[in-house]
């Protein structure tokens, strides 16, 4: 598969794919003419990258997480790579769940202001809930 086809299948632009390669997130072999030659795995890799990015991982973080080439894994190495993938997905899931809970709390706070409560009283009420709920906010890693 050439880069244009991969772009279509992954929904990314050609330039983004080249950019990800330059950043060390993916690697690729070349045809005799210098064109990049991708296997179907590349679509999966790009989908993982996109999901991770959507979940708030930086490209630098994703570079750490991405296994090199799954097809070169043999026996123990393959299981190792798969386990690592499972761990990565678990991390992603945790981050997503946390973000979602934070938003759900926020919606509840916005909507639950009791009738007749002053803005200031509500602000206090909301603040108290925030301080409890928003401890684990930082996305960095």
């Amino acid at each position: 598969m050439q880069i244009g086809e991969l772009a279509k299948q992954s929904g990314l632009t050609v330039s983004s794919i080249r950019f990800y390669e330059a950043q060390g997130l993916i690697s690729v072999s070349r045809q005799a003419n210098g064109y990049r030659a991708y296997s179907a795995d590349a679509v999966v890799a790009l989908n993982i990258i996109t999901s991770a990015r959507d979940a708030g991982f930086t490209l630098a973080e994703i570079r750490q997480l991405m296994p090199g080439d799954l097809s070169h894994c043999r026996d123990g190495a393959l299981v190792g790579a798969l386990r690592k993938r499972v761990d990565d997905i678990r991390m992603l899931e945790q981050r997503l769940a946390q973000t979602r809970l934070q938003i759900e709390d926020l919606i509840a706070d916005i909507e639950d202001r009791p009738e007749g409560m002053t803005r200031e009283a509500n602000a206090d009420r909301v603040l108290k809930r925030f301080k409890g709920a928003r401890r684990t906010q930082a996305l960095g890693g």
Copy 2:
């Protein structure tokens, strides 16, 4: 409250708060000496902005969504956008969970290698399953 105090209470920097103001996300009145004068509501507003940003909204989007006055939060645009984001995250979580289960099954399968099968034959067997399993993955979004 002056801007330094608001920065402490919100966990943002003074410069971020001024930046948000310059971007039209918040407004503020002034003391006689020109200093910004914030009410307790500002802390809540900044927490909403931070949550929305963590959820992937750009500042431009947040500017559209932010109610001018917190007491009119029921107006719905903000809550509606937040709910949609929650739905998106839920879908992503489901896909990730499914992918993870597939990989975990696969690991179990590898470790269950039939007696007498060479490691290489097993790797081939597993890789074929892997490619099959990942076809239904659709992590993107």
